[in-house]
Every structure is written in C-alpha cells, then in structure tokens.
Amino acid sequence: MPAPRPLRDIAVVAFAQTDHRRTSDELSEVEMLMPVLHEVLAQTGLKTGEVGFTCSGSTDYLAGRAFSFTMALDGVGAWPPISESHVEMDGAWALYEAWTKLLTGDADTALVYAYGKSSPGSVRDVLTRQLDPYYLAPLWPDSVALAALQAQALIDAGHTDEPALAAVASRSRASAAGNPHAQLRGPVPRGGYAVRPLRTGDCPPVGDGAAAVILAAGERARELCERPAWIRGIDHRIEAHGLGVRDLTDSPSTRLAAERAGVFERPVDTAELHAPFSSQEVVLRKALRLDDGVTVNPSGGALAANPVMAAGLVRIGEAADRIRRGESDRALAHATSGPCLQQNLVAVLEGDPR
C-alpha cells in the first residue's frame, strides 16, 4: 500500500559535493565540508540565517572522537542560533528528517549535509563495530567479508555469476568517466580476490567526501530553482540484524520502502542506487524491479565513489541533478546502511511535466 501523498510538495533545489578522494590528510572534516556548504548555498542565494532547518549525518566512529559533528556545525555558522538536528546515519536519513520537518510547516527550506573521512583508519575494521557487540563484533567480520557472503549466496542461487558482477563494476566506472567528482573512473582492473567471490573491482574505493542538499517547499522551491526535483515519496525500512535470519539474495526492506514511496506506480527513467558492492546492485535491481530501460547509476554509483555517511545523500543529489538538468523526469534514489543492505531508503523524484 503506497503512503498517502505528502501534505506539502517538497523538492531538492540544490546539490553540491566534494571531489571524492582516497585521502584528504591536509584537510579537517570542517575544511572538507566548508566549500560544499558555500557552493550549495550559492546555488540558491540563501544565507545560513535564512535557512529554516538544518540537519546533518555523520558518524563519530570515522572521526575517532565523540561529538564530532559539533565542529562541523561551527563551520555552518550557527549564529544567530539556528534550528538544527543531527542523525548518526547516512545523510540520506538527515534529508528524511528535514523532509518531515518541512511537512509540519515549521520551515520552508532546509540545509542537509553529510561527510565522512575513511582514510585515517581502516574502514573495514571500523564498520565491524556496527555489529552485535556481544556475539558478532568480537569476531571482527569485516564489511567486505560480509558482502562476499551475500555475493556467494547470489551466485549459489543462480542470480548472478562472477562475469556478470564484473560487468556491473565495469559499467559503473565507465559511467563515472563523465563524473568529475568520482574517485574511480574508466577502466578499472577486476583485480584479484578481495574475499572470494568478490574481487577488488567488485568493491568500492575507500575515500573521503562530503555532500550537501537544499530542500524547499512549494512555491519557495520554484523561486529557488528553475526545475525543482520534487520528492513524490520517500520511505525507509530496516531488517533484522542477524545475517542468519535474512535471505541475503533479497531485500524486502528496499521493496517495502519503494512501495511506500510510490516507485511502482509509474516507471522511473533513472535509478541512483547505493550499492557499494557489485553484487548488491543485483539484489537492488530485483527488489526495485528495474529493467534494462532504466539508466542505473549514471554517476558511477558507490563503486566509483563511496564516502561513507555521504554516499546515500550523494545518490539523492545525483538523481535530483539529473532532473534539474532535464535529463530525467522521474528518478529513483536509494541509500543503504548496515551490513549486507540491512537498512534501505528509497525516494522518488520528479520534475514538472514538460
């Protein structure tokens, strides 16, 4: 059952992102974020003090310190005081919180930003700390090993094979050739096995990056943007944590979120999927019923750049930009969190009829 149409029309009216890079040693998180904030505000002409609500997504575990987001807030320039909140999640969920805030009518515009620097540590090790702290985390199963379990389950079920996975990776990086922000572009070798059956080419690059979006409601969106990307529906769902109780070849949470967001009511022409591993695109394509007529990850997706905590928000921004540029009329954007696609968010974005 699709959710009722939102009470207010809310759109993405601006998007900015960093060039995602393997390392950014010379920059603090705030320094990495600042140009993105300036750019997204400049696109609309809004100033910090004119934005109705601000929400961010990040994680202390990448920063290696508690309350790391407080420093980023100083970069926003919260003076005079602003209405502001933070989710310890990918920025796509910060956008969701901002969307609900605009729905209440308490604000007409929102600034959403997210950032993550994976380079200072081993992100594979860091992400193990997401797992059940008593039974699983002490074993340190890393994110690539868990994704490999999922990939092997897909191969065993006959949903894909290694050449097909290589084709996903190759297509993504070929698309990324046209994306100046991407980290890996053009021909990338399949490489040796990272964790069988996943090769290095099936895995996302490790990198640093930030992204920001501005949302606006109703007429305000039209004032700020020539062709706003209207959020027709957005929903997110979570699954059980234990991998043993999930069918790793399927993503019921993605399917349910897509239903609630209204994805299946009419075909989409574009899909930006947050699939850090080539095998996860296979799962998502099935759950979202995407056929070959849909342009999937024209940006290159997370296989071309995967700034942890920002990569989901980047998907929404990339989909919105396609609409704003007139390259898409109805696009789907997806974000994920947790091991093996545990939590998934789906948004449907549309441009005004032409």
């Binding site: 959710a3 009722p4 009470l7 207010r8 603090s28 601000t54 994680t59 202390d60 575990y61 290696g64 508690a66 309350f67 987001f69 407080t70 420093m71 807030l73 100083d74 320039g77 919260a78 003076w79 005079p80 005081p81 602003i82 209405s83 502001e84 909140s85 933070h86 989710v87 310890e88 999640m89 969920w93 969701y96 919180e97 609900t100 729905l103 209440t104 009518g105 860091v126 992400l127 700390r129 997401q130 797992l131 059940d132 702290p133 008593y134 985390a137 997110h236 769902r237 979570i238 699954e239 059980a240 944590h241 019921p252 949470s253 349910l256 969190s337 947790g338 091991p339 545990q342 939590q343």
Partner: protein
C-alpha cells in the same frame, strides 16, 4: 496547512542504576519500550516507526547501534531513525518522533533513548585524543564550573544556592521509584560537607553515571482517542543550536536556549512562563544550572533565578516545582536524560507521576541541553489538546 496534534499515550523507563549487569543493551531498551507499550495498552504491531537516540556511540563502543537494536525494538520491517545531538539528544529524539506524527507521516511512533554507561568508560569516550585540537582534559564539570562561577559573580548569588538545589532534587528522587540515587539519609549539611570537585561545584552537586532507558509512545488525535489513560498533548516543541566556542557566546545564558524557549512559548501561547507554566523538568547536571536555566527560560529576570530557588519556589510543594523526578542530579543515563525530562513533564500533566505528582499540573515544560551549552531542545505538554 495545519499540523496533526501529537499526544503522549505511553511512557516507560527502567529503574536507573549504576550498572545493569543483568541485561544487554538490547535487553535494557526493550524493557523501557515494553513498559511504554503496556502503559498505552498497545502491541509492537501498533507501532509504525521507531526513533531512537543516545549520546556518543563511544560510550558503549557500538557504532550506529540502531542496526543491532532493530530486532529488540520490534522495528524489523519498519522505519527506524537514529538521532544524536549530544546531551540534548533525548529531547531531540522525541521531537523528531513528534514531527513524524505532526507531519502525518505516521500515526503511532515509538521513541526511545538510552545510555548503558557501565558497558564502557564515559570519561574515556569523551577524551579520545584528536590531533591538532585542544583537548579539554577537564571532564564536564571542569568545563561548566567557570560558567557557574561567572553566574555567581554576575548575579551576586550567595554560595549556598547550589547545595539547596542538590538537597531538593535528591529528596524528590526518593519519591521516584525509577530514580538512580535514593539517598535516604540525605541532609543539607551532608551536601554542604561533600568534597569540592571543581570549585564551586561539590561532589553532591553533580550527576551520577547511570544505566537506563526511557521510551514514549506518540500518536495522533485518533490514537489518543483510543488511549486507555489520559494523554499528554504537545503544545510546542523546538530545537536550537549555536557554535561551541566564539567570542560573543554567553555561557551563562546562551542565546540558543532563550530562542528555543521563546519558540516553544510562541507555539503554546505562553505569554508569561512564570504564570502560565505549572512545573518544569529541566536538565540540571550540576546544581547551579537550576537558577541559571530559570533565567535562561524566562521564569526569572536576569540575576534573579537564585532567589526563586532560595525562597523555596522550586520545591516539590512550591509555586513552580522544578525537577520533581529528582532530575539529572539523581539519574543520568546521558543519552536518555533529555527524554526523561520530556517524559516526566508528560507524566505530570497526565496525573501519573505518583508520589512526585504536582497537584493540578496542567502545563509542564521539559528541557534538555547538550554539548558546551550549544544544543537545546524543549517541549511544553498540556493536559488538554492544543487549541488550534
């Protein structure tokens, strides 16, 4: 376009203690959630979405614990959001959940906040060395003590006011079965004789470290009509943030706190908080913050807050009771502390606060703050539905 009214129909919390070694983190949060559902006479299936909050992940050593806790909170197949706004997070989490109802995204939402500080070492979690940044190395008390001293100088408050607050809150806690500290032999003299930790803050004027969780069931008008017990209605709610450190910051009475309160009062139609609000649950981790926040929240003129405290106005039987539950001074599972303030405010207007109930409490303010006094979240709840 008008917002959907938001009602609190279920409240649950754990008995807060220094260490809950008998339960996992999942067990702890489920206990509070189960109690909130029981209070609302609802089942897990009645919940449309879950919004969870806690203070830094380093406090328990679990990154983004909502992933692990999805099963324990009945969230599988549902939307689950995780909020983190430092010490104000418990309040912010409730407000994010309230927005889901107010914006008509969901009908009934479970919101929960927790901290299981015994799983790790909070001081360590706050003290990770970061290159190129000035470490604080003073603990929270060391950060706030100079601001208390500044307040005393500015207002001319006598030295003993802080002890009065601690003595009051610890006595109030004796009437709250969920409070962490139950100091049955508490006396004012004992508070005054406790060791000086960060001058002027004494040991007995500081909050404990607690394990605990607090949960609420928020619902729309239709949900409230089905509620077996009285609902608490949200009349206003707001968050405000300002930078941590800058030359123009007033640490004694931050502008973000004033603006946040003003926004809540505007929404709720409160013209004079001292007259229009019956009681307050405010975030007082160090005793002197009661008079300071009384001024910041508009209950007293600048420099006059300590006089309300000294004259007994904020006692449980006073004209403006503050921290009827015993407050943060008696119970401090950090991530949950803000939500406990919000929940205790709701308990009061529902008439469900038991021994620490204030007679005739119709409109009560819940208040939370965090970081270096830079994040604020507040709500005002009433016994009657909002007028508009």
């Amino acid at each position: 376009m008008s917002k959907e009214p938001v009602a609190v129909v279920g409240i649950g919390q754990t008995k807060h203690v220094a260490a809950r070694r008998d339960v996992s983190i999942a067990g702890l949060v489920r206990e509070a959630a189960r109690r909130a559902l029981d209070d609302a006479e609802l089942s897990w299936a009645d919940i449309d979405a879950v919004v969870i909050g806690k203070a830094p992940d380093f406090f328990e050593g679990v990154m983004m614990p909502e992933l692990y806790l999805a099963d324990a909170l009945g969230a599988v197949g549902k939307p689950m959001l995780r909020v983190h706004t430092a010490g104000s997070v418990g309040g912010s989490t409730a407000l994010v959940a309230a927005n889901l109802v107010a914006g008509r995204v969901h009908g009934t939402v479970l919101t929960l906040a927790y901290e299981k500080q015994s799983e790790s070492n909070a001081m360590w979690g706050l003290s990770l060395p970061i290159p190129f940044q000035q470490p604080l190395l003073a603990g929270a008390g060391g950060f706030f003590a100079p601001h208390v001293r500044a307040y005393m100088r500015r207002s001319g408050a006598p030295d003993g006011v802080g002890s009065l607050v601690a003595y009051k809150d610890r006595r109030n806690a004796l009437k709250n079965p969920y409070a962490h500290l139950h100091e049955h032999d508490i006396t004012l003299e004992k508070v005054q004789a406790s060791p000086m930790l960060w001058d002027p803050i004494r040991y007995s004027e500081t909050c404990p470290s607690s394990d605990g969780a607090c949960a609420m069931v928020l619902t729309d008008r239709a949900g409230a009509a089905r509620s077996p017990r009285p609902a608490a209605w949200m009349h206003g709610g707001a968050m405000r943030s300002e930078p941590t450190l800058f030359a123009g910051k007033d640490f004694v009475s931050p502008q973000a706190g004033k603006d946040c309160a003003a926004d809540v009062y505007r929404q709720a139609g409160v013209a004079d908080p001292r007259r229009d609000i019956d009681a307050v649950e405010m975030y007082v981790p160090f005793s002197w913050y009661e008079p300071m926040w009384l001024e910041n929240l508009g209950f007293a003129a600048e420099g006059e807050g300590w006089k309300l405290t000294e004259s007994g106005v904020t006692e449980l039987d006073g004209d403006l009771p503050v921290n009827m539950s015993g407050g943060v001074l008696s119970t401090n599972p950090i991530g949950a502390s803000g939500m406990i303030r919000f929940a205790e405010a709701a308990l009061q207007v529902r008439g469900q606060a038991g021994e620490h109930q204030v007679d005739g409490a119709r409109r009560v303010l819940g208040h939370a703050y965090g970081g270096g006094s830079q994040f604020f979240s507040m709500w005002l709840v009433g016994a009657e539905p909002p007028a508009s």
